[in-house]
């Protein structure tokens, strides 16, 4: 009894080796000619689909770098852990990446919740962190770089388009968590800036599938347009029921999330036509980098891959941004890389020009307004070089390098 308890309790590397489970990713500290990077995405559970895509684009970025001779003479080695859409597991892997694998950088976290679990851990154990997902904005932390979009970059353009072309009256449907709450506050602000008004706002938990009462409420309010800030499986049910009630012929729809869950592939084109979105990236962007990227990506992962959205592109661009900083610093050392990034780095990426803003640790980038037609987002307008002005209003890491929190940005 004593023996069995001890061996189980230890459960460290020794026990792991004897375990019957297959272990494709060998855990060990880097060899001298390697830089270790951790990929911490949700490869199972609620965020599985997008997590896999993000891990794939990260893999492509790393393989490309390694194939072209590596980074400062070293190969990048990736350790991959599945966060299982589970916060406790996220915390454990963040600890493992920082303490056991001693990685140079962690890329990952999809939900804001998992980011806020991992971020303090990676701060505490001094491990550089890249968060590659569009989110509600406000993270201000010298150890963390947020390389995707925030509401001031995309939502502003979306709502301004809605108010100008469809009318002044809007209605918000949002997922009931802080991304949904904060984004809908921004929607209200941007609508007011354009002289519009929001007739109603409703929040939904992730598992609601019956939107009957909501459709009735929307019709009673009679808005010109509806903006959806929905995530998970719910949006699909909503677009379906909205179209089934014939409302898509009368009320316009725009969305801050449509397409990132590949919704257009499941909906018929009559259900999804006319939905307007605004993202940093969609596959229909026409430039040389994007054409080249798509060619390489499909060669590596097959031609039947679902269309890539802003999220997987962010993790690709995030890895490239980190790699550029390592080259610039001539070292993968945490502080040197941070300083290189804070000095400003600008890259030509598939989404367009992509630049690090050293003051906020967020990125300045192009955003594209597009309308779905036959399941494909057709770009209407491109807005060049949008700064992360929401986070910039509250965060200045040059002045306050020790700042470390997520601000709730006052919207008014």
């Amino acid at each position: 009894m004593k023996l069995s308890r001890r061996s189980l309790m230890k459960s460290g590397a020794a026990a792991a080796l004897t375990a019957a489970l297959p272990m494709p990713f060998v855990k060990s500290v880097a060899a001298a000619d390697e830089i270790v990077m951790a990929s911490l995405y949700d490869l199972s559970g609620a965020f599985q689909e997008v997590g896999k895509q993000m891990n794939d684009t990260l893999t492509l970025a790393v393989e490309d770098i390694n194939a072209s001779g590596g980074l400062i003479g070293k190969k990048i080695k990736v350790v991959t852990y599945d966060l299982q859409s589970n916060l406790q597991v996220s915390a454990q892997y963040a600890q493992q990446a920082a303490l056991r694998d001693k990685v140079a950088v962690v890329h990952g976290g999809i939900s804001s919740a998992s980011r806020e679990v991992m971020r303090p851990i990676l701060d505490k154990y001094k491990t550089l962190y890249f968060y590659d997902t569009p989110y509600e904005g406000g993270v201000c932390d010298r150890n963390t770089f947020c390389v995707s979009t925030t509401p001031s970059q995309t939502v502003a353009k979306l709502i301004s388009h809605a108010c100008k072309t469809w009318g002044k009256k809007g209605y918000i449907l949002a997922a009931d968590y802080n991304y949904g709450q904060i984004t809908s506050d921004w929607v209200k602000k941007f609508a007011h800036d354009e002289g519009g008004e929001i007739l109603g706002t409703e929040f939904f938990p992730f598992d609601v599938t019956n939107f009957g009462s909501t459709l009735a409420k929307i019709q009673a309010a009679a808005p010109d347009w509806v903006v959806t800030v929905l995530v998970g499986g719910t949006p699909l049910a909503f677009y379906r029921q909205f179209a089934a009630a014939g409302l898509n012929k009368k009320i316009h729809v725009c969305s801050t999330t449509f397409g990132s869950g590949n919704e257009q592939a499941v909906l018929t084109s009559s259900e999804s036509d006319g939905i307007v979105v605004c993202y940093n990236y969609m596959e229909t962007i026409d430039n040389a980098q994007n054409a080249d990227f798509l060619k390489r990506f499909h060669k590596r992962f097959g031609d039947n891959y679902p269309p890539l959205s802003e999220l997987p592109m962010s993790s690709y661009q995030g890895v490239q941004m980190w790699a550029a900083a390592v080259r610039k610093a001539g070292s993968a050392d945490r502080m040197k890389v941070i300083q290189a990034l804070e000095g400003g780095i600008s890259l030509e990426m598939p989404s367009g020009k992509f630049a690090m803003d050293g003051i906020t640790h967020h990125c300045t980038m192009d955003v594209h307004l597009a309308e779905y037609k036959d399941k494909v987002p057709k770009i209407i307008e491109t807005f060049a070089q949008q700064p992360p002005s929401d986070t910039a209003a509250v965060c200045n890491l040059t002045k306050n390098p020790n700042d470390n929190q997520q601000y709730v940005i006052k919207v008014n």
Binding site: S44, G45, A46, Q48, E49, D176, E202, F203, F204, P205, D207, V208, T209, N210, G212, S213, T214, L215, A216, Q219, A220, G233, T234, P235, L236, A237, R240, Q241, A243, A244, A245, G246, L247, K250, G261, N262, E263, A265, V266, L267, T268, E271, P306
Partner: protein
Amino acid sequence: MAYATIVGIEVVYAIATLILVSLGLAIIFGMMRVINLAHGEFLVMGGYAATIAVHHGVNVWIAILIVPPIAVGLIGLVVERAVIRFLYGRMVETMLASWGLSLLIVGLLTTIFGSSTEGVPMPLSGFTIGAYQASGYNVFVIAFSLLTLGAVYVLLRFTRLGLLARGTMQNAAMAAALGVDTTKVYAVTFALGAALAGLAGGVLAPVAGIVPTSGGSYIGQAFITVLGGGAAALTGVTSAALLFGSVGQAATFATNPVFGSVALLLAAVVLIRILPNGITGRYFKGWL
């Protein structure tokens, strides 16, 4: 007035879906005293069956009404033979085993289909009441739920199969002594319950997106409806669905869907406290 009609349709629709979703569970629980926590996953499998059929070019109505009950009914038969039959009479163990089964099915579905949302196109368009648009499919779901309820009643009340099933459930030893093959009856009844779950999954497929984990959002409500209803499968489910559905929808319209579901759950807790054996434990005794 038009708005009131729309609200009315929504309330009735909520009750009808509650009946549809719970009916299979109620048959299995009411007749066999087995609580099948994999019921939600049976529904989801029905949804996937419909999706696959549509992808293979099967007519939408056949894909949602015929394919799912057959597919899931067969799966139910396998489950009964492989797992459930060892656990008859042991309620807690069946609950735990079927919980394990539910996790297992979620895992299998995820491995096979991935976790992206699947769906079936909506076969009916909307119609207009006054200034409002309503979903034609919702009206179909209401009618179809009543039809299913009626069909199950006829099956259990007026056919030889129904008689054997009811007899076996009431006193298996006596039925066996009279020459009934009770093993077969148990298996068929469980398969019937599973088929009804599959049917519900198929019917709801055009309305809701299907992911491997969506069973979780049905099981809680179905579970509570069935236990709130009590032992008499059909009357119990109908009465509990009427009560919970209207309470839930009233709260949803007054506030939002979250408080709607909380109101539904609270109503269930209070009901179980007042009527520990469910509605049919006190009223409608001896009904089917």
